[in-house]
């Protein structure tokens, strides 16, 4: 299975990467071979007073992805993603989802060892 999730401001490949993970608008799940996409709304996490990142991790784990591309991730969410075996590529805000995926496919995205955002 070669599916990855990208935090996205909208449901298409040409939408901007949403820099947030826990409270992102939604996720675009991309099949790397066919470039077919599926959009998952993240409303469920956004309404949480705390733990949105952990909830978001559960959502994409259920979607069966091997990797996440996003802007920034906090330490608890990072822990949850690591536990789920989902690799994380950070600092990709400012790109479109399509651009982020292309970078990933061409091996330009370094997989994060630590979260890039302080906890609260």
């Amino acid at each position: 299975m070669n599916r990855i999730a990208v935090t996205s401001e909208g449901p298409s490949l040409d939408d901007q990467v949403d820099p947030r993970f826990g409270r992102t608008a939604g996720f675009l799940v991309v099949d790397l071979e066919t470039m077919d996409t599926e959009y998952i709304d993240n409303g469920r996490s956004q309404v949480m007073a705390q733990g949105a990142g952990i909830q978001a991790a559960e959502i994409i784990a259920q979607a069966g992805v091997s990797c996440l591309l996003t802007g920034y991730v906090g330490p608890k969410a990072f822990q949850a993603l690591a536990a789920a075996g989902i690799k994380v590529g950070q600092n990709l805000e400012g790109l479109t989802v399509r651009q982020a995926v292309e970078r990933f496919k061409s091996g330009q995205v370094e997989m994060a060892q630590t979260p890039n955002r302080a906890g609260r």
């Binding site: 309404v47 007073a49 705390q50 302080a118 609260r120």
Partner: protein
Amino acid sequence: MREIVIISGKGGTGKTSLTGAFAHLAGNKIICDLDVDAPDLHLLLQPKRERLEEFYSGNEADIDREKCDGCGLCASLCQFDAIKQNGDGFMVDPVRCEGCKVCVAFCPNEAIGFPEKHCGQWYISATRFGPLVHAQLFPGAENSGRLVMVLKQQARELAETRGAGLVLCDGAPGIGCPVISSLSGTHLAVAVTEPTPSGRHDLERVSDLCRHFQTALAVIINKHDLNPAEAARIEAFCRESGYPVIAQLPHDPLVTQAMVQGLVVTELPETDFSRELHQAWHKIEEMAGLKP
């Protein structure tokens, strides 16, 4: 872009009055009042509201009297004493309800609703010193720090759009959730303290918190002449711990006079106090790596 938060540990040391003055002295910045529980900065800045947003956070349980058959399971499960008998049914006390959903999940009649909690409002306003991002929690609401994070996020985005190099925040007293959220991602915390046993004690705790979260800390001793011996003890503590004391300000009734007039102290005729404040601000700019 740099973010500076003015904190105190102990309340009443002069955090907000000093933040107001720094807002006057600072260059292109976004001002942010993170004391969402009891915000006072607006009393000095007279903001003109440009945007208002409702803030919802968490949920609360609500028992439907029609569906409730009075079995009392909810009350026996509630760890927060939030459910009491009311006539022949049960009722949730919104003040005690923690929003945990246990009663909702276990009610055999599915008689308990779980609406979102309307906790407060936040605003973006214009002031004579620049944009202000602020909020008001409704009295009694939970202060989990989430609203603080919303304000910080808004202030940062605004700084980016307006090309401001600084987000200057008035923090909350204490060391709990809201203060922890205030420190997240901040470049410099400035603790305002007073030369009293409480002031020193609370400074030690809030400085421990900053150390715990690896936030750079500088200290201002306000009203130092109230107890020079205690001020000296605080200075020694700061020196041993590696926190620069960037100013020792005299107690000055001017601060209250300015407050009563809805001004910040640097807008009044110059005194020793306001001169010291100017110097303190320059040191803060240096420490935070802000271009002068």
